[in-house]
């Protein structure tokens, strides 16, 4: 496999061919996940550090499983006690990580650009598992993988509405970049307080009301609402948010007939999405979780087995 990238910092660095490679590779790993014995020796002897400076059980577990199914050794380096407090230098953490000599670092950090910062300072692969409000490339890739399972490989002409807190969402930014690259029309819908001031610059259409944003949409991605947004004065309260923006079956009536619903999780039921809709047949939420493992296996595999230029197999 001739994978051209040392790191995965965001989807913007990927070409359409690269995306296809990820999708094909993930599809082959998806099959492993369906076997009774879900383990292959592909990355035996390789080590993956899971560096999560911000809590995220889901993404961390997903990467952990992905690594283990490929027989890599995974090590957690969590934000514990005082050793990785905010303000303590990430540079020192980087030096520690580098000294462990891993084959890949999967990292989550509260600062936009943090993965980029680390990637420029270590020789191994850095996989961005979310940095600040900037990017969450594996989430976007797994969302794409999930949609392609339903829609097939060609997404040109589809319309996807991203609903909720776009301003503070790395998931939204990566999805917008990836989906628009593949010819999908992306709509954003949120109160103005939850959209970046120049949201149009992201390359999507902007709505502040649900009804027009959902019209003929082929899929709706709900974003997780951080509960502290109301404390920051961005929202009156969750009930008010739900009144305007909670996705329900009734509100989907003018969407495309077979509209799909996605959510990166964890869900605030009744806030971002009605409980019955989350569990309904057109919900892809659990498919996303399954895709997540396959896509992350692909990402680890591609980056760890990649050959440097001039190196021979």
């Amino acid at each position: 496999m001739n994978w051209p990238h040392k790191d995965l910092l965001d989807v913007s660095q990927l070409s359409r061919e690269d995306v296809d490679v990820v999708m094909r590779t993930a599809a082959s790993f998806r099959e492993i996940n369906a076997r009774p014995v879900k383990k292959v020796p592909t990355l035996k002897g390789k080590s993956v550090v899971l560096f999560f400076a911000e809590p995220s059980t889901r993404t961390k577990t997903s990467f952990d499983i992905a690594g283990k199914r490929l027989s890599a050794d995974t090590f957690g380096l969590a934000k514990s006690g005082s050793s990785l407090q905010k303000g303590e230098t990430l540079k020192d953490t980087v030096l520690t990580l580098q000294a462990m000599n891993p084959d890949a670092i999967v990292m989550r950090h509260a600062s936009s650009g943090a993965a980029d910062f680390v990637a420029r300072r270590v020789s191994c692969a850095v996989i961005n598992a979310g940095d600040g409000w900037h990017a969450h490339p594996t989430q976007a890739l797994l969302d794409l993988f999930t949609l392609r399972e339903v829609w097939g490989d060609d997404l040109v002409g589809k319309t996807v509405t991203i609903l909720g807190d776009v301003a503070h969402s790395r998931v939204a930014r990566s999805n917008i970049r990836l989906l628009t690259m593949l010819g999908v029309t992306v709509r954003l819908c949120a109160p103005r307080t939850l959209l970046p001031k120049d949201a149009r610059a992201l390359g999507a259409k902007v709505f502040h009301e649900l009804e027009p944003a959902l019209e003929n949409a082929d899929a709706v991605m709900c974003l997780r609402l951080q509960l502290e947004r109301q404390e920051a004065g961005l929202l009156p309260d969750l009930r008010e948010y739900a009144r305007r923006f909670c996705l329900t079956k009734a509100r989907l009536k003018n969407a495309a007939p077979d509209v799909k619903v996605l959510h990166p999780g964890p869900i605030n039921r009744g806030v971002e999405i009605a409980s019955d809709l989350a569990d309904a047949g057109n919900s892809l939420i659990l498919d996303q979780v399954a895709s997540g493992v396959a896509v992350r296996m692909a990402i680890l595999y591609l980056h760890i087995t990649r050959k440097e230029k001039g190196e021979t197999a």
């Binding site: 230098t89 540079k91 120049d198």
Partner: protein, 431 residues
């Protein structure tokens, strides 16, 4: 009459044709005369300018020297070294030291450190705190600070959010010294190191809108007019603020304003790749803002240039963007970076003399040189053709935090004199 003891021969002078010779005696200008190669000055040190520009030494109305308290970033000796190398004779240093310069002992310490390290200049003029500890709760003892040697008052770095208190500060200071305000609505600007706009949206950074600055500019203008008390608006960075200031000046409001070289030469495009060196407060704005500032500076809507020299240590910038300290080191590169605009015809050498030397000294009532007989012999020589690469070694400041690192600038200060004392010479200082 004292015989000439320092002569600069064969220099170009902004706004005047031909070559000129500056004749000084006992630290003062004797005369500026058309250059005569036959002239002899037997008692004097003669500096052959060989066509370099002779500029009045500049006054930086906005410098952060980190002494006392954060000497790892800069101390008064290194800051004044950078000032001398940058062509400055006067430096106003802000009060946000540790401890804060809100009492005479800190002011006196600063002045003593300056005279110990650089007895012949550049001259240091401390800016006293406007409120105790810059906390925005209680006025600082301004008369005490003035008596100890402060020349202005400012809460720079911690803008006073309480408008009622700020009003009283302006009223109280009105009979003592000018107030310099850092214009930023602290609630709107909180935690943001990037201009709010396309760039912050793409990078996923918290944005600071230009209106956060303009709101405070508007407040300050209204108060200055209402109280008839002067306010100097620090480091203006955006078109919206420029428009408010232009309006205010048309009405005769007692406001003056400054901007900095980096707002004239850079935009928020510099943040691409999360370059922490370009993180500064107020943030680098858009090209539209940049062009508005250049025009405002030319027209005098913005009165002066100041560096907002904000040195930081390497480890304070070698972090993810949002954790990095705000600030660009500016004394060493001010003139070199501005010269690009002169080469492009957007500013003239006269604009620079006016906005970076004469007008700031006027506003803060400091000694300066207009090359008239009796003026202090404060000048610098500037070689407009000399190209140099900005490296840590070329910066005399301890702060190496500038987005210009690695870039090549054309135009360099080669000599600086204060009161007729040569305090910097490139040839002697080495690269």
């Amino acid at each position: 009459m004292t015989p000439p003891d320092l002569v600069v021969a064969d220099a170009a002078v902004p706004g005047r044709d031909g070559r000129w010779t500056l004749v000084c005696a006992a630290g003062q200008v004797l005369e500026l005369v058309p250059h005569d190669p036959a002239a002899r000055f037997p008692e004097a040190r003669v500096i052959e300018a060989k066509g370099q520009l002779l500029l009045p030494a500049m006054t930086d109305a906005h410098t952060h020297l980190r002494e006392p308290g954060q000497e790892w970033k800069e101390d008064i000796a290194s800051g004044l070294a950078a000032a001398a190398g940058g062509g400055f004779s006067n430096i106003l240093c802000m009060a946000n030291t540790d401890p804060v310069n809100d009492n005479e002992s800190v002011t006196r310490l600063m002045l003593r450190r300056a005279s110990d390290a650089w007895p012949h200049g550049p001259r240091l003029f401390p800016v006293g705190a406007l409120t105790m500890g810059l906390a925005g709760k209680q006025l600082a003892p301004m008369e005490e600070l003035l008596a100890a040697g402060c020349v202005a008052f400012s809460n720079d770095g911690e803008p006073v959010a309480d408008t009622e208190l700020f009003r009283h500060a302006l009223e109280y200071a009105a009979d003592l010294a000018p107030v310099i305000d850092h214009c930023e609505d602290p609630y709107m600007a909180k935690g943001a190191g990037a201009n709010e706009g396309v760039m912050s949206a793409r990078l996923g950074l918290r944005g600071q809108p230009d209106v956060a600055e303009a709101l405070q500019v508007a407040r300050d203008i209204l108060l200055a007019e209402y109280l008839n008390a002067p306010v100097h608006l620090a480091h203006v960075s955006c078109r919206r603020a420029v428009e408010l200031i232009a309006d205010a000046k048309r009405r005769g409001a007692p406001v003056t304003a400054e901007t900095c070289p980096h707002y004239l030469t850079m935009t928020d495009a510099a943040l691409f790749g999360y370059d922490t060196m370009a993180k500064v407060n107020p943030p680098l704005r858009t090209d539209d803002d940049r062009l508005a500032l250049i025009q405002a500076l030319r027209e005098g809507v913005i009165d002066i240039l100041a560096t907002d020299h904000a040195p930081h240590a390497a480890h304070e910038k070698e972090t993810p963007f949002e954790d990095a300290k705000n600030g660009i080191t500016g004394l060493d590169t001010a003139l070199g970076s501005l010269w690009e605009l002169v080469r492009l015809g957007q500013l003239t050498a006269e604009d620079i003399a006016q906005r970076f030397a004469w007008r700031p000294a006027e506003i803060f009532k400091l000694p300066h040189c207009r090359f008239a007989p009796g003026d202090p012999a404060d000048f610098c020589l500037f070689d407009p053709e000399q190209s140099w690469v900005v490296t840590p070694e070329t910066l005399r400041s301890k702060g190496k935090n500038t987005p210009l690192l690695g870039q090549s600038l054309t135009g360099r200060v080669t000599l600086t004199a204060v009161n007729g004392h040569v305090v910097y010479e490139l040839a002697r200082a080495g690269a």
